[in-house]
Symmetry: D2
Subunit: 337 residues, 4 copies
C-alpha cells in the first residue's frame, strides 16, 4: 500500500482525493495539507477516511510514513515544493504545468538528477480511453507513418477575466494539454510552431492581453504536421476531439456523451451534447494516471509522463506565444532553456 | 434500344417516366396510355420527349414497334392487362402487387407458362443501395447462417381514410414491401406468420376495419425468424431500416438523409431527418429496377423479381391478415392457391 | 451509514461488493456469508475492508447491527432467505428473479404485507444511463403516446449446456431482463405474449429442451406493442439496444463501446465492438441500483423496483414459455398466481 | 431551352456532358469541340444525342444558335477562349481555375466590364448538398458569428509525377477548391495565409518542387480563422469534410458513403469507406452548378460564382505558395493584381 499525501485541497486536489480513494487499489491517501485548512476541508477529507489535515505541507514532507506526494497547489508553488519533496525522498506527482518559469523547471530537473524518486507530471488526458485508442493504433502501425495530427479542444465556458489575467495566457493554461497531446499521439517532438489567435468570444480578454480562439500549426521533428484549434467557449459543451492521419489510414475520436440516446421528432434527430467539462469527461483519466504512478513506484519502472515530457508542452506554449506576438513561425530551439 | 410503353400516368407511372428517361440508357419511352388522358398529361409527357399519348392502352399493345410495357395502372387492372400484354408478346414490368385476387395471379402465371416474354414485378426496394448492401453481405457469407431478420418500415404520414378503404388493408398495401424484403434479405421463404396490430395513429382507421401499427413475426423455412414493425405515421419522416443477424455477425442499414450535416448548439446535437418519403428515398431504385428489366430483355436472362417472387408477399399478407383476425399463427400453406 | 450484509459470494455478490464499496457513499458492507466460505473469499473480502465472513447467512440475519441484506445466493434460495430476512427486520435487496416458483413469490409478498422493511428486486438495467435516457424522454412526453417498444438483447457467448439445463430456460434466465425493460420503458404492463423461438446457435440447447434465439411479441395493456429479439450468441459482443416509438417521435439507444475511435484504412471504416459483457456494460447500473436502495431506506421512500414489479417479468416469462410450447398467443391472466 | 457548346472533351468536359444531358432540364448540349476530335469522341457524343463535333472551338463561337459555352479545355487556354467567347456574346461557364496567370484573369475581367454576358466559374463543391447545408446554417445565423472554419480535403490517390509537374503546384491544383470553400462557408474573404507543407506521400513530388501534405492557416477579413488540411493520398478514399464553429454552435459534415450499412463481426464494426473520388462524390454538384448557370441566363440574374469569386482562390493559392517558400505569413494584398 503506497501512502500518499496530497498538497493542496483546491479543485484538482479534490479530484485526486476522489480518484485515489475510489479507484487506486494499491494506494491510500493518509494526509492532506492546504494553507487555508479549515473545518469544511476537514469534514470533506473525513468522508474519504482522511483524518490527518495540515495547514503546512512540510508536515507531510517530514512524515517518514508517507511514500509519495501529489502537488496540487497553485502553479507558482509547484516547482519549489517539488524540490523540497525530492529532497525529502518522496515520490512526486506534480500537476501540470511544472512551472511557468523555465529556470524553476531546470532546478527541478537538476534536483531529480541527484535523486532516484519517481517524478510524474499530471497530463491526465494521456490516460483517457479515447486518446489511448489513437495512441495504441499509431504505435501498432495501423495508420502507417504519421503525416497529420489534429486536435480540437474547446471549453464550454470562458473563464473569468480575473482567472485569465493570472493564467499565464491561453497557451500555457489551456492549449498546454493539446501541445502534450500532439506529442503523445504522434510519438514525436515539436520543432517549430506558428500560432494565429484572436479574442472572438470576449473582447475583454484582448484587453488583458490574451486570446480566446486559436489555430496553431506545429512542424514535428519527423516532418509530420500538427494542427490544434481552440476556443474558450463552445456553447454546446466541452469539445475534445483528435485525429491522426498517416500513410496507411486515419484514426479519430469523437466526444463522449452522457448516453447513446437519439431522439427523432418532427423537429429533427437529436443526440446528446458532449459530457459537460473536464470533471465529467476526464475523471477516469485522473484516476488512471495516479494508478500508473503508483505502479511505477511499486515496480520501480519508468513513470508514464516524466519531467522531460512535462517540459516540452511548456516550451511549445512559450514559442506559440512568441509566434502570436511576432506573427511568424518560431522554432522551439529559439526558446532558451 | 428497348422501346417501352407506359400504361398509367398516375404517381408511379410518372416515377417510371422520369426514371427511364434520365437513367436507363438502353431504353426509351415511346408511348403512354391513361384512361384519363388530357392536355396536362400530354404536356408533361412531351417534356420527356414522349409524343404518343393514348386513352386506350390497347393502342400500346397493338403497336408492333413496342418491346415492353410497364403496367402502372390501378391495382385491380394489373393482372388483366398483364395477360393481354403477354398475349401481345410484350415483355411486362408489372407494378406490385400483381393482384389482390389470387385467382388472377394464377391466370397470369398460366399465361406466362405459354409464353417466353419477360415478366418482372415492381419490388423496387430490392434495388436500393442500402438493402443491396445487406443482401450482398448475406450472400457473401459475411454474417454466416441467418438467424434473425428485422425490418422497420414507417411512413411519414397516414393516408386518407378513403385511400385506406380501397387499399386492401395495410398488409397488402404497405407491409407487402417488407414481406418481400424479409425474403430478399434472407434469401428464404416464409413458412408461418403471426401478426399483432392496432389502430393507434388514427382510430378512424379501425372503423374501416384496418390497422396502422403492427409487429409481424415470420417463421422462415430455414428455421430463422423474421420480424417487421410498421407504423403508418412517423412524425420524423420515412423510417426505412433493416438488420440481419447471423452466426458470424450482423449487418444493418440506417436511413438516408439529405446531408451528413450535424449541428451542435446549446439545445443539442441535431442531424437531418430521413429523406421524406418514397420518391426522395427510393427514386434511384425505381430507375435501377427498370434498368435491370431492360438488361434481362436485352441479354435474355432471368428477371430479378419474377412472378413467383411477386406472389410470395401477397400470400404472406393474406396469411398475416388471417393471423390478425384470428389472433393465432397462420401457416402460408393454409392460404389456398 | 447503512450497514449491509451480502449473502452469496458468487459472481453477482462480488459485483455488489465492488459497487457498494467504491460507489455507494451512504452504505458500507460489514459482513459476507457464503456456504462455501474459504480463505480465498476471505482474502478477497479483506481487500474491500470486510473482515466478517460467515458460512451461515443466519449469522448476518442475527446481527442487530446490520440494517440490510443483499441476497446474491443461488436463485432457488432467494425466496426462503428473503422471508427469513424480512422476519429478522432486515431491508432486503433481492437479486432477480425472486423465484422461479410462483408460490414462493406469493409467500414473500404475504410476508412483506406484515412488515415495513424495504424490498427491492435487482433489475439493474433500469439504472443504466442509456435506458434511463429513454425512460426520461418517454415520461417527459417527448415521443407522445407509446405505440411500439423494441428491445434487442444478445449475449456475446452461449452459456454451457450444464448452465442451460439448470437455468429455468432462456426466458426466465435471460429474456426476463428484457420483459422488465419493455415494462420499464413503456411504463405499462403486458397483457398477452407470443413467442417464436429456436435453437440456431447450438443444437445441443434444443436437446435439453431450451432455445437460444427468439422473437417475442408483447401486447401491452394500453394497446401498444412490444417486441424483443434475443440471441444467446452475438459474435461481435454484447448487443443491448432499445427503441420506443410514439405519436410524437422515436428514441433509441445504441451500444456502449470502449472508445469513440474510428479507424479508416484501405480495408474499411472500423469502430469499436460493444463493451464485452454485463460486467463491462452494466457495472455502473449495479452500483446505482444499490445507491437507490439505500436512499429509499434512509429517506423511507418507495424502492424503485418493488416486489410487484419483480413479479411481472416472471409471469411474462412463464407465459412466453407456454406460448412457445403451444405456438399460440398466451394471456398473462392465464398464468395462475 | 438554352443551347450549350462544350469546349473540351476531356474528363471534365465529359462530366458536364453527362450532367447537362441527364439533369439540366432547361438546357441542351448542341455541339462539342476538341482539338483531338476523333471517332471515339463522336461516338460517345452521339450517345448523348450530340451530333455536331468540331476540332476547332471557333465553330462553336461562330454559331449564332449557341447561347452559352462551357470551357473545359486545358487550364492554360481558359482565359484566351473566355475572352473570345465573351466577344462572341456567348455566356461563359469557365472551369476553375480561370488561369494561373493573373494578367490573363485581369484581361478576362476587363472584357467582362464591356459585356453583359454571364460568366460563371466552376467551383462545383459550392453546390454539394453537404457544404450547402453548412452554408445555409451559417447564413441563417444558426451558429452565430463565425470564429473557426475547418476544411479537410484528401484525395484517394496521388497523381502521377507528370501530372504534378504541369499542375501549377498542389495549392493551385487541389487546395484551390478548399480556399474557395473557406470563403464560401464563412461568407468572408481571406486577408493573410500561412502554409506548412511537405512531401510525405511521395518524395518524388518534392523533387519536382511540389508538396503532397499541407496545413494552411487563413486569417479572414472579419477576424475569424480558417484552417485547411490536405493530403494527396488517403488510402481509405476521398476525404471531404468541413466544419464551421461560431458563437452559437458548430456545424460539420462527414463524408458521403455508398450505403449506410454497418457490419458487426468478431473483427469489429465496419462501415463503408467514403465515395471513391470526385466523380462519385460530386456528380450531383456538377449538374447543379450548370443548372444554376442556365437559370441565371434565363432569368438574367447574378451567377452564383462570378469572376471576382473565381479570382480569390487563385490569389490565396499564390500567397500560400509564397508563404511556403518563405516560411512566413503572407498577406493577400502582397500579391500584385
Amino acid at each position: 500500500m503506497i501512502k500518499i499525501g496530497i498538497i493542496g485541497a483546491g479543485r484538482i486536489g479534490r479530484v485526486h482525493m476522489e480518484g485515489v480513494t475510489t479507484g487506486v487499489k494499491n494506494a491510500t491517501v493518509v494526509a492532506i495539507a492546504d494553507p487555508f485548512m479549515n473545518d469544511d476541508i476537514k469534514k470533506w477529507a473525513a468522508e474519504y477516511g482522511v483524518k490527518t489535515c495540515y495547514s503546512d505541507y512540510h508536515n507531510i514532507l517530514d512524515d517518514p510514513n508517507i511514500d509519495a506526494v501529489m502537488i496540487c497547489s497553485s502553479t507558482d508553488t509547484h516547482a519549489d515544493i517539488a524540490i523540497e519533496a525530492i529532497r525529502a525522498h518522496k515520490h512526486v506527482f506534480c500537476e501540470k504545468p511544472i512551472s511557468q518559469d523555465l529556470g524553476k523547471i531546470k532546478a527541478v530537473m537538476e534536483e531529480l538528477k541527484k535523486s532516484d524518486v519517481k517524478f510524474q507530471v499530471g497530463f491526465n488526458r494521456r490516460f483517457d480511453h479515447n486518446f489511448q485508442a489513437i495512441r495504441d493504433a499509431v504505435e501498432a502501425g495501423k495508420i502507417g507513418d504519421v503525416h497529420l495530427i489534429r486536435v480540437t479542444a474547446r471549453d464550454p465556458e470562458a473563464p473569468s477575466i480575473d482567472y485569465v489575467k493570472s493564467s499565464g495566457g491561453m497557451f500555457l493554461d489551456m492549449t498546454i494539454h493539446d501541445f502534450d497531446m500532439v506529442c503523445f499521439l504522434s510519438g514525436c517532438k515539436v520543432k517549430e510552431v506558428y500560432a494565429a489567435g484572436a479574442a472572438l468570444v470576449n473582447p475583454d480578454i484582448a484587453k488583458v492581453g490574451d486570446i480566446d480562439t486559436a489555430v496553431i500549426t506545429l512542424k514535428m521533428e519527423n516532418g509530420s504536421i500538427g494542427v490544434i484549434d481552440n476556443s474558450r467557449q463552445a456553447v454546446y459543451g466541452y469539445d475534445q476531439r483528435a485525429e491522426v492521419f498517416g500513410s496507411k489510414g486515419q484514426i479519430n475520436v469523437a466526444n463522449d456523451t452522457p448516453s447513446t440516446a437519439v431522439l427523432s421528432t418532427a423537429d429533427g434527430v437529436i443526440s446528446d451534447k458532449p459530457l459537460y467539462f473536464f470533471l465529467e469527461r476526464y475523471m477516469a483519466s485522473f484516476t488512471k494516471e495516479v494508478a500508473e504512478f503508483t505502479k511505477a513506484i511499486e515496480n520501480n519502472t519508468k513513470v508514464p509522463v516524466d519531467v522531460e515530457e512535462g517540459l516540452q508542452p511548456i516550451l511549445i506554449a512559450i514559442a506559440a506565444k512568441k509566434s502570436l506576438d511576432e506573427n511568424r513561425p518560431v522554432k522551439i530551439s529559439e526558446i532558451k532553456f
